[in-house]
C-alpha cells in the first residue's frame, strides 16, 4: 500500500477570488449612513375618545403653524424661517421675564446650581395638509437647532466644553435643564388648499 502524496492546492487564484468579492461588495453597498431627525410620536388616543383639553397656561404654549403656502406663524407673528430659531430660543428661556412668554421658575440642578427654566413650556407644531415636506423639515430642524444651541451655550458656560464633548452625566443634566418639548398635534385643516 503505497501512500499517495496529496498534492498541495494551488492558492494563487485566491487573491483574484477575494478581489472579485471585494469589488462586488463595493458596488452593491452604500457607504452613506442614514441620518435624519428623530422624533417620538404621542401614543394613540383610545377609539371614540376626543382629544382631552389639557389645561395649560396660554403663555406656556408656542403654537407654530405652517400653512399651505409654507408661511410660518409663531405665536401671533408671521416669521421667516431664519428668525424662527431666535423666536424659539427666546420662548424657551424667556430672558427678560416677559409676561407673554412662559413662566420661569428657578430650579436647582446637580452640579450646575440654580437655573431659571420654563418648566412647563410646550412647542406645538401644526401644519396644513398642503404644506411642503421640505418646509416642515426645515421648521423641525430650526426647533432642534434652537434646543441644541441653548444646550451648547449652557455646556460651554458650566462645563467649559461643547455639549457633544461633555460626559454622559453632564449631558443628562443639561438635557434636563432644556428638555425637548415639541408636540405634534392632532392633524387639522388650516385654510387654503
Amino acid at each position: 500500500m503505497a501512500k499517495r502524496k496529496v498534492p498541495g492546492i494551488n492558492a494563487s487564484s485566491m487573491a483574484d477570488i477575494s478581489f472579485l468579492l471585494l469589488i462586488f461588495f463595493l458596488v452593491t453597498t452604500s457607504m452613506n449612513v442614514n441620518s435624519g431627525l428623530s422624533r417620538r410620536l404621542p401614543p394613540p388616543l383610545p377609539p371614540g375618545q376626543k382629544q382631552p383639553d389639557v389645561e395649560v397656561n396660554r403663555r406656556n404654549v408656542l403654537v407654530i403653524l405652517i400653512n399651505s403656502q409654507n408661511q410660518i406663524l409663531a405665536g401671533n407673528n408671521v416669521v421667516a424661517i431664519q428668525e424662527l430659531k431666535q423666536t424659539v430660543k427666546d420662548f424657551i428661556t424667556n430672558p427678560t421675564n416677559d409676561p407673554t412668554l412662559p413662566v420661569i421658575t428657578p430650579v436647582k440642578f446637580p452640579e450646575i446650581g440654580v437655573v431659571n427654566v420654563a418648566k412647563d413650556h410646550v412647542i406645538s407644531l401644526q401644519n396644513d395638509r398642503g404644506t411642503d415636506y421640505q418646509a416642515y423639515i426645515e421648521v423641525q430642524n430650526e426647533l432642534v437647532a434652537a434646543y441644541n444651541e441653548l444646550r451648547d451655550e449652557l455646556a460651554l458656560n458650566k462645563f467649559g466644553a461643547h455639549y457633544n464633548a461633555c460626559t454622559q452625566q453632564q449631558q443628562d443634566i443639561i438635557s434636563d435643564v432644556y428638555p425637548m418639548k415639541i408636540s405634534e398635534a392632532e392633524p387639522k385643516n388650516y385654510g387654503g388648499q
Partner: protein
C-alpha cells in the same frame, strides 16, 4: 580595481504574494462590516429634504423604512404621477402600513421590538397630507419612534 559590478549579478528575489489574499480578505471584511446593503429597489423617486441638526440611525437591525414619493420616471406611465407609498419592494397604501409594522415587529429578534424605529424617507416636494396620514397610522400601530430621513445641507447626493 573597481569592485562595482556593472552587469547586475545578484538577482532580486521575487516578492512573495502569499499574503495578498489575506490582505484582500481583510479589506473585504472591513467593507462588509462598515457598509450596508442597498435596502430595496426604489419604485419612487426620492430626494430627501435637507437639514443641519441630524442624528444618525444607530442600530440598523431596528430600523424599517417607509418610502414616499412620486413613482419613478419609467413607472409613471403605469402607475401615474401621484405621490405613492413604498414598503419593501412594492407600492402600498397607507392602510397597509399598520399591518406592515405589526409584521415587521415580529421579525426583530434579539432586541426589544418596542425599540423599532420607522424611518420616513420622503421626497422633499411631498405634501404633508400623506405624511400626516402615515404618522397617524404609525401612532395607531404603536410605532412611536420615528425618524424623518434628511441629508446634510449642502451635501446632497
Amino acid at each position: 580595481m573597481s569592485r562595482f559590478r556593472k552587469d547586475g549579478g545578484r538577482e532580486l528575489p521575487e516578492i512573495s504574494t502569499a499574503s495578498l489574499p489575506d490582505i484582500i480578505f481583510m479589506l473585504l471584511f472591513f467593507f462588509m462590516a462598515t457598509t450596508s446593503m442597498k435596502e430595496v429597489t426604489y419604485m419612487v423617486s426620492i430626494r430627501v429634504p435637507e437639514a443641519t441638526e441630524l442624528t444618525k440611525l444607530e442600530k440598523k437591525s431596528l430600523v424599517r423604512y417607509v418610502y414616499v414619493g412620486q413613482p419613478r420616471q419609467d413607472l409613471i406611465a403605469k402607475y401615474g404621477s401621484e405621490t405613492r407609498l413604498q414598503l419593501d419592494d412594492a407600492f402600498a397604501d397607507v392602510s397597509q402600513l399598520e399591518e406592515y409594522v405589526t409584521q415587521e415587529r415580529g421579525t426583530i429578534t434579539g432586541d426589544d421590538p418596542n425599540q423599532m424605529v420607522i424611518s420616513i424617507k420622503a421626497d422633499r416636494d411631498t405634501k404633508m397630507g400623506i405624511i400626516t396620514d402615515i404618522k397617524q397610522a404609525l401612532r395607531r400601530a404603536y410605532a412611536l419612534k420615528i425618524n424623518y430621513s434628511a441629508s446634510e445641507r449642502g451635501k446632497s447626493y
